[in-house]
């Protein structure tokens, strides 16, 4: 078990090494890194752990953001369903990643395609593990894994069976995400190739996005969304919820990207904070302008999607794209997301919350952006493209199989028409989100 821990580290070192190289190039690495090779000092070790634990807590917090965004942008009658999905996916993701995912994603020495390092971890010496303890490592990775699963939830909202969603999300977080993840972060073949994905534009967001896409397509659109007369919008029920959600996600992203430096390297972490902040801001501005000009109103749901788009966009290169170009990456993502949302609606892919546009489309954009804007000359557009395609094909195929298998299983995938019309909350959960007669609270 200990050796598993040590090996898991090997994979992760690829991330921090690549980072360090790039950062050193421009940032004139000082005394801090000199100690790296010999293992960090006791204080540096503590600093690393503190950074990663707090960053992990912030990433955990993103689940509250997803819950808010998704419930805000869907109808009140399905709110308990959405909330339940978001809550339970964290729980299931955490436990299943502990038992299987972690060992699959960071298998140690392996054939660079697939390997398994064992379940959980036994008592190990935290100091011998590397730059931080194995506990820290697991925690930070586990909250990431659950995030990837949550992305799917929004795209399939308001029509998927609760139990079916749980099954697919579990398959996803337990097998699909960790295997694809091991190729990039676990020391697999894409690591070897030099594919660069700092904090997961592809590994987290696109992977989640591909599964969201296949799910939305296989489920089909919500009833009444695409009619003979054209598209009939199904408006989200609470803009305050959606907005709070985006603020939560933005905050969480400082942990997501900042923690992905995997060491309290001041230059790198602080630059990542700045590029993340600027790209998110630029994404919001880009989407506001695009929606104002093209759609004639500054649509708040587009601004919110735009901020997330900018954040997803910078995630692959937050440590190797300088602040000025990070503005471009974010702003372009913000514009892309507006057109992507509109386009998906045109081709009748019904994604209630814009998850596919934000996470898949802008995840791809962000990964390519590294090939364009990175200040590290090792990063090439072609390598990035190969990674995107390889992972895309893998997730498209596996997630399609999962969705279809479930669809044709006795469980099925989609709720009945009656249930969809009247709301999933009453049927599946036996509880409404806002159950009161406003004025009869005297008796209810």
């Amino acid at each position: 078990m200990k050796s598993n821990g040590m090996m898991g580290l090997t994979g992760r070192l690829f991330r921090s090494r690549a980072l360090l190289g790039a950062a050193a190039l421009l940032l004139m690495a000082g005394a801090a890194w000199a100690q790296e090779e010999a293992g960090p000092s006791a204080e540096q070790f503590s600093l690393n752990n503190l950074l990663l634990l707090l960053s992990g807590a912030l990433v955990f917090w993103m689940h509250a953001g997803f819950a808010c965004v998704e419930s805000g942008l869907t109808q009140a009658k399905n709110t308990v369903n959405i909330l339940s999905k978001n809550v339970i996916i964290v729980c299931l993701g955490g436990v299943s990643y502990f038992i299987i995912g972690f060992g699959l994603m960071y298998p140690g020495e392996f054939n660079h395609w697939i390997g398994f390092g064992g379940s959980g971890f036994g008592p190990v010496s935290p100091e011998d593990y590397g730059d931080y303890t194995i506990f820290t490592d697991f925690f930070f990775q586990a909250v990431f894994a659950a995030t990837a699963a949550t992305i799917i939830s929004g795209a399939v909202a308001e029509r998927i069976k609760f139990a079916s969603f749980i099954v697919v999300a579990l398959l996803f977080v337990t097998f699909i995400y960790p295997i694809a993840g091991s190729w990039v972060w676990g020391g697999g073949w894409l690591t070897d190739l030099g594919f660069k994905d700092f904090a997961g534009s592809t590994v987290v967001h696109s992977i989640g996005g591909w599964a969201a896409l296949t799910g939305a397509v296989i489920l089909g659109p919500r009833r009444g969304k695409y009619t003979a007369d054209g598209i009939r919008p199904i408006v989200g029920h609470s803009m305050p919820l959606a907005t709070i959600g985006v603020f939560i996600l933005f905050l969480g992203w400082f942990g997501f990207n900042g923690g992905s430096v995997l060491a309290m390297d001041s230059g790198a972490v602080s630059m990542v904070y700045v590029t993340t902040f600027l790209a998110g801001c630029a994404g919001g501005i880009g989407a506001m302008l695009a929606s104002w000009i093209v759609l004639r109103k500054p649509d708040i749901t587009m601004i919110l999607n735009g901020i997330l788009a900018g954040l997803v966009g910078i995630t692959a290169g937050a440590d190797t794209i300088a602040p000025w170009p990070s503005l471009a990456v974010g702003a372009i993502a913000g514009v892309i997301v507006v057109f992507s949302v509109v386009t998906l609606d045109r081709i009748k892919v019904d994604d209630p919350v814009g998850a596919i546009s934000v996470h898949l489309v802008c995840g791809v954009w962000g990964t390519l952006a590294v090939g364009i804007f990175s200040f590290n000359p090792d990063h090439g557009f072609l390598t990035q493209l190969i990674g995107i395609v390889a992972i895309g094909v893998f997730v498209l195929v596996t997630s399609t199989l999962a969705w279809l298998a479930l669809k044709h299983s006795p469980l099925g995938l989609r709720v009945s028409e009656e249930e969809e019309v009247n709301g999933l909350d009453t049927y599946e959960h036996g509880l409404e989100a806002y159950p009161e007669f406003k004025s009869t609270t005297g008796i209810l």
Binding site: F437, S439, G442, I443
Partner: protein, 114 residues
């Protein structure tokens, strides 16, 4: 037989009791509206950020019942008994005539539609 509509403004917390009394009496259905009203009972004063103001409208429920004309008196009695607290603001019951009634599901008319 002629049909009537019985409308009852009641205190919200009396809904359950009124509903039970009516079900027990044997009405076939009812419809509830959330309303606000005032009458003798004139609302209360509230203070918001230092300024006093009158909240005139008090939350009430309106229950609407379609019944046959010969049931009207009994139904009114049932409601009055169940909804009464004796305190101001208990509400009103009033009756209007209905010209015709149709059940959407079957197209049945008038008394058959109840």
């Amino acid at each position: 037989m002629k049909l009537s509509k019985v409308e009852c403004i009641i205190k919200p917390f009396k809904l359950e009791e009124v509903k039970e009394a009516l079900t027990h009496f044997g009405i076939s259905g009812l419809t509830v509206y959330e309303v606000r009203g005032f009458g003798r009972q004139r609302g209360h004063k509230e203070i918001y950020r230092g300024t006093e103001y009158k909240v005139d409208f008090i939350p009430k429920l309106k229950i609407e019942l379609l019944v046959t004309a010969d049931q009207v008196d009994d139904v009114v009695d049932v409601v009055v008994n169940a909804a009464k607290t004796g305190a101001i603001g208990d509400g009103k019951v009033y009756v209007t005539p209905i010209e015709s009634l149709v059940r959407i599901r079957t197209g049945e008319k008038d008394i058959d539609a109840l």
